[in-house]
């Protein structure tokens, strides 16, 4: 046997190419049992090509791009991610040959320059010979993550994919500190490390903390006074209730969610056109928070509001359609010329956003390969992609591509529109009628059957003027055509895919095996949904996510809530609960909160009350030396972390202390028409930020954020962000020192105080301190401020020219100093 096999190729070689059968035999034998001629040919002609042109990217010792290695026989035969690269005996069927021939524009190797024609011929000949290859077939050493298939069973053991635990409350010594079950979890860890929790925060600091926390605004001096004078035991609980009832609450906490929803009023990316209806989603979010919409419902509406069973109420229907903005708000490469890629790009954006926002998993990583770190195989990604491929997000992919907007017109709007359409039709008819009549008369006059060129020039004057008037009316009408209200959103596509092929290396040009619609398999708990045949599957996906058994959804959102209260989550990486994320500092507390949240019907407000009524929340920000040593990072929460205000809080606080904040809620605030360019080829900026409404309502222009936001760590509105940074950079200082906004509010505050003639200067300084910091100034501060005023008025000034200018200017500068100081923008 052995002998025969070894001999056969020798005989057959001469016949190579003579017939299919022979070729196949030759091929199989050629690679595995190379002849000496074959070996010679390989060594002389082929190996040098591989070494010089291929190994750099395709060898087990360096890189293995596309999963392909060419430095072993086994590697050559196995091929890469898209399958075998040579088909021994058949050069024309071999991808390697296709690549080196450089004819396929999308598939050329080597990538930098083509091989010489004789080298290409040698490779063709080599494959024709059956690809004889004497090289060692020792399996290559660890080829990195790709070669290890995702082990789902092993993956399920990771804490985040495990069902939510039901931990008992830990036992603690200092029972008197326990106001809420939260405190037991926090204190247990502190006691273990022998760290004492900080004392309770003083009341001024506490009110300032809570007011900014829940409303994003500073407390008013009268609110401070009334809290200070309320000696009842539930004084603070009353404050929390009052703040939660304020519409300012939804504006503040809705904004948190908008960070996660990567909210923006423009597309950004390549073609920066206006999302002229994004504001409806923004207002939906604010309403949802103010109404305390249960989070599970909130989630389902945002992913599948269009697919929920109708309630009969138009308002509810519109609300649900508006919620779908979540899926549509992402940046899209609207001018991408490869339309298939364009579609896959925005599907990817939707999947990645859902993954980060609700699951804390970076699903997008699995677009091109199995997730390198988390147990998400690429099949799971395309199982989700099938759902979104069956969803209609865009109406038109031609440049500039047009996103879909469900109509949400009210009956009254429809009536107006119908009336208008009638009027329009009537006017159009009048025009055609007039022309027809005039033409008929013209024919009669001219006694002919065919109209002359430009018949209108021969109409009588009165007909002509009548026609002109009518045409003008028509033009005016058309310009004024009412647009029916619409919101950004999606609907189900006409083609519901039950399977969708894996895109090898993320490319739609290399399709792999089809996978059915599905959800990430590693997340244990709720049963995988059964997908209906006639819907995209979004509703099933949303319900699966919002299931009480889901291991991640509740954990991720309670962690977010915690993080927005404390500046940092129990899981520090709020958007990544995967292997590269952080482990929870208090896993039991996280699970207890998640269970409690579900038990309280996913109520955000109940969660705020629970957290804010705890001793943990009400601690002072002062550090204990022991704590600083044993827990320098304050991971165990022995004191409340100092928090820098966020961009919108700083801006709103500035306007608020100047009493020039306009509290009007909602509505369209971007001054550009829907789908109009914010910037096209030019750099002219149509947007202004001079509005005195809350910062929430200022336009969010991707690629061109309001500089005040940009400098103060406003998150990139192109991607979901769970917790913002709080950097300190010199441009922020320049803004506080020199910007018009800060100069303006400082002068306004100064002018208001100067107008109160009965106040002494010392009383005025006291007022500034009360307004800006919620506390009276110390004696030293008072004296320093007064000295500053004198000094400034004595020096040369740019304002000397106006009467009384120096005094107003000095007071303005003093107010500015108070507002620029750390105490104004850092909460204790």
């Amino acid at each position: 046997m052995v002998l025969k096999v070894q001999v056969a190729p020798l005989c057959l070689l001469t016949l190579a190419g003579a017939g299919l059968l022979f070729a196949r035999l030759t091929a199989a034998a050629g690679a595995e049992f190379p002849t000496s001629q074959g070996i010679e040919f390989f060594e002389a002609r082929i190996r040098p090509i591989f070494v010089d042109h291929c190994y750099k990217c395709h060898s087990s010792k360096e890189k293995f791009k596309g999963g392909l290695t060419l430095d072993t026989r086994e590697g050559v035969l196995k091929g890469g991610d898209s399958g075998p690269v040579i088909h021994p005996g058949f050069p024309d069927k071999s991808r390697l040959i296709e690549a080196v021939r450089y004819k396929n524009l999308d598939f050329q190797m080597p990538p930098k320059s083509p091989l010489r024609p004789d080298q290409v011929r040698d490779l063709e000949k080599w494959v024709q010979m059956g690809a004889p290859d004497p090289r060692d077939s020792t399996p290559t050493a660890a080829l990195g993550p790709r070669t290890r298939p995702v082990d789902l069973e092993e993956g399920k053991k990771f804490w985040a994919f495990q069902p939510i635990n039901d931990p008992p409350l830990p036992q603690v010594e200092s029972q008197e500190w326990i106001r809420s079950p939260i405190d037991a979890f926090i204190l247990a860890k502190l006691e273990k490390e022998q760290i004492k929790p900080a004392r309770g925060a003083d009341r001024r600091a506490l009110l300032r903390r809570a007011t900014f926390d829940l409303t994003g605004l500073p407390p008013k001096p009268n609110e401070m006074a009334s809290f200070l004078s309320d000696s009842s035991p539930d004084a603070f609980a009353k404050v929390v209730d009052r703040l939660l009832e304020s519409p300012r609450y939804g504006e503040r906490w809705g904004r948190h969610w908008m960070d996660v929803a990567r909210y923006a009023d423009s597309n950004g990316l390549d073609e920066n056109v206006a999302f002229g209806n994004a504001w409806r989603y923004r207002d939906y979010v604010v309403r949802a928070f103010n109404q305390d919409k249960p989070f599970d419902q909130f989630l389902i509406e945002q992913l599948a509001g269009d697919l929920l069973p109708p309630t009969g109420s138009i308002a509810v229907k519109h609300e649900r359609l508006t919620a779908l903005g979540f899926l549509s708000l992402g940046p899209k490469l609207l001018a991408e010329t490869d339309k298939v890629k364009l579609e896959m790009d925005f599907i990817d954006e939707q999947i990645e956003t859902i993954g980060r926002a609700f699951l804390g998993v970076t699903l997008g990583c699995a677009r091109c390969h199995d997730h390198k770190f988390d147990p998400v195989p690429t099949e799971d990604y395309y199982a989700l992609a099938a759902i979104f491929k069956s969803t209609h997000t865009m109406d038109d992919l031609r440049t500039v591509a047009r996103w879909h907007e469900p109509e949400i017109a009210l009956p009254k709007e429809l009536e107006t529109k119908a009336a208008f359409d009638q009027l329009l039709d009537k006017t159009k008819f009048a025009v055609t009628n007039l022309i027809a009549t005039a033409n008929k008369r013209l024919l009669e006059e001219l006694k002919t059957n065919s109209l002359p060129a430009n018949p209108e020039s021969r109409y009588p004057t009165n007909t002509l003027s009548e026609l002109k008037t009518l045409k003008e009316q028509l033009k005016k009408l058309e310009a004024e055509a009412p647009e029916l209200s619409s919101a950004m959103g999606v609907k189900d596509g006409t083609n519901i895919l039950k399977t969708f092929p894996v895109h090898i290396r993320g490319s739609h040009l290399t399709l792999g095996k089809p996978v059915p619609r599905g959800v990430p398999r590693v997340m244990t708990g709720p049963a995988a949904p059964a997908f209906g045949d006639h819907q995209s599957g979004r509703l099933e996906l949303a319900r699966w996510l919002a299931s009480r058994e889901h291991p991640l959804t509740a954990r991720v959102i309670v962690n977010r809530i915690w993080s927005w209260h404390f500046g940092r989550g129990l899981v520090d990486s709020t958007d990544n609960f995967g292997a590269l994320g952080d482990l929870p500092s208090h896993p039991d507390l996280l699970d207890w909160l998640a269970r409690h949240f579900i038990k309280e019907d996913w109520s955000m407000k109940a969660m705020h009350r629970l957290i804010m009524r705890s001793s943990t929340y009400q601690m002072a920000a002062s550090k204990d030396p022991v704590a600083a040593l044993r827990d320098p990072d304050n991971r165990l929460l022995s004191h409340f972390p100092i928090r820098r205000l966020e961009a919108e809080e700083i801006r709103d606080a500035l306007l608020s202390v100047a009493e020039s904040l306009d509290l009007t809620m909602g509505g369209k605030t971007i001054p550009v028409k829907n789908r109009e360019f914010v910037f096209n080829h030019t750099s002219r900026d149509a947007t202004t930020y001079e509005s005195t409404r809350r910062a929430l309502y200022l336009p969010i222009i991707r690629n061109h954020l309001y500089d005040f936001f940009e400098q103060f760590d406003y998150p990139d509105p192109a991607v979901p962000t769970g917790n913002r940074g709080a950097t300190v950079i010199a441009p922020q200082a320049l803004l506080m020192m020199n910007s018009e906004l800060v100069e303006q509010v400082s002068s306004q505050l100064a002018a208001r105080l100067l107008k109160q003639a009965r106040l002494t200067d010392a009383e005025r300084v006291e007022q500034i301190s009360l307004i800006a910091y919620g506390r009276p100034p110390a004696q030293k501060e008072l004296e320093r401020a007064l000295a500053f005023l004198r000094q400034l008025q004595d020096t040369n000034s740019k304002a000397k020219t106006e009467p009384g200018g120096e005094r107003a200017q000095a007071w303005g500068a003093l107010c500015q100093t108070f507002l620029a100081a750390n105490e104004f923008i850092y909460l204790q």
């Binding site: 950004g268 990316l269 390549d270 991408e336 990072d633 962000t721 950097t727 950079i729």
Partner: protein, 479 residues
């Protein structure tokens, strides 16, 4: 954007505890997260993110001036002569056109401009650039650049950030992150009159890199270069002396507050940031003071001529920033209308654009050279893509062409008077020594002494690079 992807070794809070603040500070936190295992480039002092840092290899260049021609200048009409295109004018393109094109194109269109070989190197330059042609011996012409996106927005983003479908840090931000700045009183990365269109701020943004590394815009494309300045750099009401008094009061208040709050690095950092801002208020206007330049210099840049005045000022500003140690300077040529985007009116449009930039660019090269700056300054010229050899819009226009186009380098350790790579016979596709945008980025970083595979930043659980998972260094262009 959360610049602190809190590392496992050191969290945000602990970083805050340990750092003060410099011009941009401490978002540098993540710089510290396990530099050894992730390959992240550790800042020597996280409190001073812009402190100059040594490259990992011997650097051939210390800084970059990127002359960006927005819109896509035509390579076959400027630096890549194609005799066959002349011969086969008005015939169909014999090869296969790209699978996806921006728009349909017609027959081949020969260049309306003549090429001549220049200087000792004999590099061909078309008559559109008579002044730059005089510097041919300093140019290293890259004729095989190619990208992946045929639309302006995508192509601009790809060129500036390496990615067209994600928001990523710009190359200037990466370079500044890698090397810091030699002048901490100025931003490390300045972009002069940038365009807000097609990617806008993302083209000079820092994305997830610390904010200190973002480009600082000086004016924008609608602002004449002479009026371009940095926002909020001057106070309109207080004299510098008064502002000094104010900052003294502020410092006292902040120090009292710090005593009461206890040691906190962010609070301390913010105290320093006001002092730094005060120094920047002086350094920036001084750098912008073009009137201090001699008449000879001003005319070298064409500042006395209306046509070249604007871009001349931009280029002269670039030299002044380069002298002051700014690491990455971008100069954008972008008129208010169609820029270098001649789908039609090729003759008129390209003539006008070239006239505006030719003398200033040559002036910059000569000036850098005479001051000894060219040897360690890398000048990069080019647009987001080239143009098709086939006509569009009648017989006087060309479409976008990302498949093969020309950029050039000068100074900074590249082979002078050298042409690298080639497009096909007609100039449609890059054909020899192809240089993808990722390769260009890898090569730029290498010239600056940085390894594009090691210059990483950990964000959202992954180490990111300017070159993503691609990029080859074109070592053949190194002098």
């Amino acid at each position: 954007m959360n610049p602190f992807r809190p590392g496992k070794l050191m969290s945000r809070r602990s970083m805050l505890e340990r750092s003060g603040a410099g011009f941009g500070w401490l978002a540098a936190a993540a710089l510290m997260s396990d530099p050894l295992s992730t390959g992240s480039r550790a800042a020597a002092d996280p409190a001073r993110p812009l402190a100059p840092r040594n490259p990992v290899f011997p650097a051939r260049a210390k800084r970059v001036i990127f002359l960006f021609m927005k819109g896509g200048p035509s390579h076959v009409d400027t630096f890549d002569p194609k005799p066959l295109l002349d011969r086969d004018d008005d015939k169909p393109f014999p090869g296969e056109k790209p699978r996806v094109q921006f728009a349909p194109t017609a027959k081949l269109l020969k260049s309306p401009w003549k090429f001549k070989n220049h200087c000792r190197s004999g590099l061909p330059v078309s008559e559109l650039f008579p002044h730059v042609a005089q510097c041919a011996d300093d140019l290293c012409v890259l004729r095989s650049v190619h990208g992946t996106n045929a639309a302006h927005g995508g192509a601009l983003l790809k060129l500036h950030t390496g990615s067209d479908n994600f928001v990523r840090p710009s190359m200037g931000a990466w370079v500044t992150y890698g090397l810091g700045s030699e002048n901490e009183n100025l931003p490390g990365f300045i972009t002069i009159c940038p365009t807000f269109a097609h990617g806008g701020v993302n083209n000079w943004g820092s994305a997830f890199l610390p904010a200190a590394y973002q480009g600082t815009p000086l004016g924008n494309a609608t602002v004449p270069a002479g009026d371009a300045t940095v926002r909020h750099i001057q106070n309109s009401r207080l004299t510098p002396a008064q502002q000094r008094t104010q900052l003294d009061l502020l410092g006292q208040m902040n120090r009292d507050h710090l005593l009461q709050a206890g040691h906190d690095a962010a609070l301390e950092g913010r105290i320093n940031s006001f002092e730094l801002a005060f120094r920047m208020q002086r350094a920036m206007p001084e750098a912008l003071e073009l009137s201090r330049e001699s008449e000879a210099t001003r005319s070298l840049y064409g500042i006395n001529d209306k046509v070249t005045e604007n871009f001349g000022k931009q280029c002269l500003l670039a030299r002044r920033f380069a002298e002051r140690g700014v690491r990455f300077i971008q100069v954008t040529h972008s008129d208010p209308d169609v820029q270098w985007d001649q789908h039609g009116d090729l003759r008129k449009g390209h003539t006008k654009n070239a006239a505006e930039v030719d003398r200033p660019i040559a002036g910059l090269l000569k000036d850098l050279k005479s001051r000894g700056l060219l040897q360690d300054t890398l000048v990069l010229w080019g647009g987001e893509f080239g143009r098709t050899p086939a006509a569009q819009g009648g017989r006087d226009g060309r479409d976008h062409n990302p498949e093969g186009f020309t950029m050039w380098l000068a100074g900074g350790g590249v082979k002078p008077g050298f042409a690298y790579g080639a497009t096909d016979d007609y100039g449609w596709f890059a054909a020899e020594n192809k240089l993808h945008i990722h390769d260009l980025h890898a090569t730029l970083l290498a010239l600056l002494g940085l390894d594009h595979e090691k210059l990483t930043y950990r964000h959202a659980g992954r180490d990111f690079r300017l070159t993503d998972v691609a990029g080859h260094v074109a070592r053949d262009i190194f002098a």
